[in-house]
């Protein structure tokens, strides 16, 4: 089945030969060829596969491809062409990544948070980020980086 939607602001039609039941994660990785979005659990438990659907953070591993027809999907590759998104800059400034495998998902959850809340509190960061597991334990740096990016955005350094 062919599913047409917008992926990182470009119209795209993906043919999944599974009646549109292929998870968006695998359609993005294997059919569209964008491998920044990661597979971690397959059951919406870890957040490694987080992408934006019409601006909201969702778990692409449990989202059937057909359900995004006509909608807009953004992956980590769309944050910026040159790592200049305030969150990417903050992630680099805080040296957040260790193994790095979960960080695409962490960044997309954080980006969805900042898009609707320019000054998140620690409690709001907890709510937005608790679905994303980091086995290397970079949470403290992620929290600092989100605050840093939010401050940059507020002060117009974006």
């Amino acid at each position: 089945m062919a599913t047409t939607f917008r992926l990182n602001d470009q119209p795209i039609t993906l043919e999944d030969d599974a009646g549109g039941e292929t998870p968006l994660l695998w359609a993005i990785r294997e059919i569209a060829g964008l491998t920044g979005t990661k597979f971690g659990c397959g059951r919406s438990l870890c957040g490694a596969c987080t992408v934006h659907l019409d601006g909201r953070a969702i778990r692409s591993c449990v989202t059937p491809l057909r359900s995004v027809r006509g909608r807009s999907v953004h992956t980590v590759e769309s944050l910026s062409p040159d790592r200049s998104h305030p969150l990417q800059r903050a992630w680099l400034a805080e040296n957040v990544p260790q193994c790095g495998y979960c960080q695409s998902g962490q960044l997309m959850s954080a980006a969805a948070l900042l898009a609707r809340n320019a000054s998140p509190t620690d409690a709001e960061i907890d709510i937005a980020m608790t679905g994303n597991i980091c086995r290397c334990g970079t949470y403290q740096r992620i929290r600092r980086a989100i605050h840093r990016a939010a401050a940059d955005l507020r002060e117009g350094r974006s």
């Binding site: 030969d17 599974a18 039941e21 292929t22 998870p23 695998w26 359609a27 990785r29 294997e30 060829g33 964008l34 491998t35 920044g36 990661k38 597979f39 971690g40 659990c41 397959g42 059951r43 438990l45 870890c46 490694a48 992956t75 980590v76 590759e77 944050l79 910026s80 790592r83 990417q88 992630w91 680099l92 040296n95 957040v96 990544p97 260790q98 193994c99 790095g100 495998y101 979960c102 960080q103 695409s104 960044l107 960061i125 907890d126 709510i127 980020m129 608790t130 679905g131 994303n132 597991i133 980091c134 086995r135 290397c136 334990g137 970079t138 949470y139 403290q140 740096r141 992620i142 929290r143």
Partner: protein, 750 residues
């Protein structure tokens, strides 16, 4: 003071059965003659390279191109611990270049990159900086000296007037300069010098918080992990694995699987039934159509039975691994007036975020593999032996690792990909599900500790008996590693024989496995009568190295029991430890540093309590102070203060990051994690029943680095061991209830 240059390894020097610290104390059977061969290239090879390409390629790590590009081959994998940053820093310091201009490539499996202590190419044991510290600075210094000598020759000036700085050689009196790239051909002609290394006071790179080299590729999705590998014509496979440990395929019915779109084949292979398709999801979806009948397997594996067996083993004396004074005499004289506690720790999975996977392509008598592995040397040897190929016909590329934590010291995922590629005669990637990873790991073993101690009337411990019941990790892993340690060309039969002998050493209980007692047998507390015993437990569960290995359980037992003794003696737990560490200055140093930074002894907000622990592992000293509260049986850790002494620091931000990481890893295990068996199968399957610490549970972590001029030591693992006992000790302070079983179930707390 000048640091003496490490001697270049001499090929003729034999290294006999050397007990060293793999994962903190494994026995590395390193009797290898040849692994160092070729690390430094011969002059005629250097000249040939320079003539052909213009490159200066003096050793196994470094290539300087005529266009001034400097390419460093990293021989220790990057799994988050920071080798892509720390190792170029070591080279840059002596090469006199800006470390940020160095391009880092990941080494393939090659004997030149064998771990200098373990004798095979692996990344583990928190040893990458410790063992590369001398080697890489030396490699950088050799190249720098050859470039200086080349410039002196070209300019016909004294060598002493030529200064290497920031990628150029300057003739100081005349001010002439030449970039390294312009000197590559002449440098390749120079004899290999024995350079002196800079004294630490002159370091400009080492000790700085250089940004992580691998961070950019990890914030834009461009980093290539094993799961991201793409090759021309690559097929994707899923392996249907047995529900019960070691069960075999009796029969299988492919049903409609082969008629599904994209599905190429359904084949039986060792370990299960593989569904092969063009894409991963096609294979995964087709699994539902395949019915497999299983037979045999260890259906009796049961955690309750294992717990009983461990209790039985600790009720009797084990094999003595340390004996000071007369423990039995003091215990007998105490006539029952001693303290006794037992501690139980569960099986644990590593659960790295990237599920296991590997890509392989077998073509004729050659095999090429791409794997996120800590053990490329092992993967190469095992694949060569399995497929009957020459070792140098197997090429193993390592990718970024989405976490390792010891799980990827075993190369099972790479072997199965190679096996399947040969079976189906096509390049193929096998990707494990999270359930596959959780249920088919090499777990941190289930372990029981029994401790007894006698306090004198002043409350000072005078006797300490520590009995451990645990499986042998080395029995499982040494036989698989040994063939990768022997010289190239060693007959397969000899390798198999050596493996059998090595396994038998531990199976026969001739040697007490040091990875089961590390952290207990070397306890730094000054107690005159002290015995540590080990009883080997063999329940048939696959076990392996789990971040901090034996220390992950011994620290919990030792640091919990010492706390119990402090309470029994009516003493402050910090002061009690301090008094017993008079012969252990670096343990004492971190203990005091953590206590001071945490404000030990100062008042806390109502409902908050502190616990402390200290532990030595991987040559580093770490102490942690936890602040927590207990509300409605729920433990909430608010703050962790961590002091670390890891010798000289290469990159302080990476040291801090590794302490933060170890603490979170250890906290998750202490508060939540347990792998259990029933009827031969693992009862947990994914992150809902093997839970991780998450953002909302994250404490504030403060790291204090204790200054040291000792050589650098490990940081990847030493942050893990003290956290569980520090938490348990704080809970005891909060509730009066002593936690002796992990994980900390709510029912244990209130």
């Amino acid at each position: 003071m000048t640091t003496p240059a490490p001697k270049r390894p001499r090929v003729t020097r034999r290294r006999f059965l050397k007990a060293s610290a793999v994962g903190g104390g494994a026995l590395a059977l390193a009797f290898v003659v040849g692994p160092m061969v070729g690390r430094y290239r011969r002059r005629r090879d250097m000249r040939a390279t320079a003539e052909a390409t213009g490159e200066f390629h003096p050793n196994a790590w470094l290539v300087i191109h005529p266009d001034n590009r400097i390419v460093f081959t990293l021989d220790r994998v990057e799994m988050g611990q920071g080798t892509m940053t720390s190792h170029p820093m070591l080279i840059a310091e002596e090469l006199e270049v800006d470390p940020t201009v160095i391009e880092v490539e990941l080494a393939v499996a090659d004997r030149r990159y064998d771990h200098p202590e373990f004798g095979l190419q692996i990344t583990g044991g928190s040893s990458s900086v410790r063992t590369s510290w001398g080697v890489l600075r030396h490699a950088g210094a050799v190249a720098r000296e050859m470039l200086r000598t080349a410039a002196a020759e070209v300019w016909e000036v004294p060598l002493s007037e030529c200064l290497a700085t920031n990628g150029t050689i300057e003739h100081v009196p005349s001010g002439r300069t030449q970039t390294y790239g312009a000197l590559t051909r002449q440098a390749a002609e120079q004899p290999i010098p024995e350079p002196e290394l800079k004294p630490a006071e002159e370091h400009t790179v080492i000790g700085t918080a250089m940004d992580r080299v691998d961070a950019p590729m990890k914030v834009d999705g461009s980093g290539v992990f094993g799961i991201d590998v793409v090759r021309p014509g690559l097929l994707n496979a899923v392996l249907i694995r047995p529900p019960v440990q070691d069960a075999r395929v009796a029969s299988f019915d492919v049903g409609e699987a082969k008629s599904r779109p994209g599905v190429r084949d359904v084949v039986r292979m060792p370990g299960g039934v593989a569904v092969v398709a063009d894409r991963y999801w096609q294979a995964r979806a087709a699994v539902a159509d395949v019915t497999v009948e299983w037979e045999g397997g260890r259906t009796t594996l049961d955690t309750g039975i294992m717990s009983e067996e461990l209790r039985r083993l600790t009720a009797e004396p084990g094999k003595t691994v340390r004996e000071d004074g007369d423990v039995d005499g003091v215990l007998a004289a105490a006539s029952g007036d001693y303290l006794e506690s037992a501690y139980d720790l569960p099986h644990l999975a590593h659960a790295p975020m990237e599920p296991q996977n590997s890509t392989a392509h077998v073509e004729g008598d050659r095999c090429e593999v791409w794997a996120p592995t800590q053990a490329p040397g092992v993967a190469r040897e095992e694949i060569a032996a399995m497929l009957g190929l020459a070792r140098d016909h197997v090429v193993v590329h390592t990718t970024l690792l989405g976490g390792g934590f010891g799980r990827r010291l075993v190369a099972d995922y790479a072997l199965e990909a190679a096996q399947l590629s040969k079976l189906i005669a096509a390049p193929v990637k096998i990707t494990w599900s999270r359930e596959d990873d959780m249920c088919h790991s090499m777990y941190r073993p289930q372990v029981r500790h029994l401790l007894r101690a006698v306090l004198d009337p002043a409350g000072t411990p005078v006797a300490w008996q520590h009995r451990i019941a645990a499986p042998s990790l080395l029995e499982a892993i040494v036989p698989s590693w040994l063939p990768a340690m022997t010289p190239d060309g060693t007959p397969g039969a000899m390798n198999r024989g050596l493996s059998n002998v090595a396994g038998g050493v531990f199976r026969g209980d001739w040697i007490a496995d040091p990875t089961s007692t590390e952290g207990a047998s070397d306890t730094p507390y000054a107690i005159p009568n002290l015995r540590v015993e080990l009883a080997r437990h063999d329940p048939g569960v696959p076990v392996g190295f789990w971040r901090s290995v034996g220390h992950s359980h011994t620290a919990f037992a030792v640091e919990s029991f010492i706390d119990e003794l402090a309470v029994a003696a009516g003493r402050d737990p910090f002061a009690f430890r301090r008094a017993l560490l008079h012969d252990a200055p670096r343990n004492l140093g971190v203990l005091k540093a953590a206590a001071a930074a945490a404000g030990w002894g100062e008042p806390l907000p109502a409902g908050r309590f502190r616990g402390i622990a200290q532990h030595f592992s991987f040559e580093s000293y770490v102490s942690q102070v936890v602040e927590l509260s207990v509300e409605a049986q729920r433990v909430r850790v608010h703050r962790v203060v961590c002091a670390v002494d890891c010798g000289r620091v290469i990159n302080p931000d990476i040291v801090r990051a590794q302490m933060e990481s170890g603490i979170v890893f250890g906290l998750g295990a202490a508060l939540k994690q347990r792998i259990s068996y029933a009827g031969g199968h693992v009862e947990q399957s994914n992150f809902h029943d093997f839970e991780m610490l998450r953002m909302n549970e994250m404490p504030t972590i403060e790291v204090v680095i204790v200054p040291s001029t000792a050589d650098p030591t490990g940081v990847g693992e030493p942050g893990v061991p003290p956290i569980a006992p520090a938490v348990a000790n704080a809970i005891a302070a909060a509730t009066g209830r002593r936690i002796r079983t992990l994980p900390i179930e709510p029912s244990l707390v209130a």
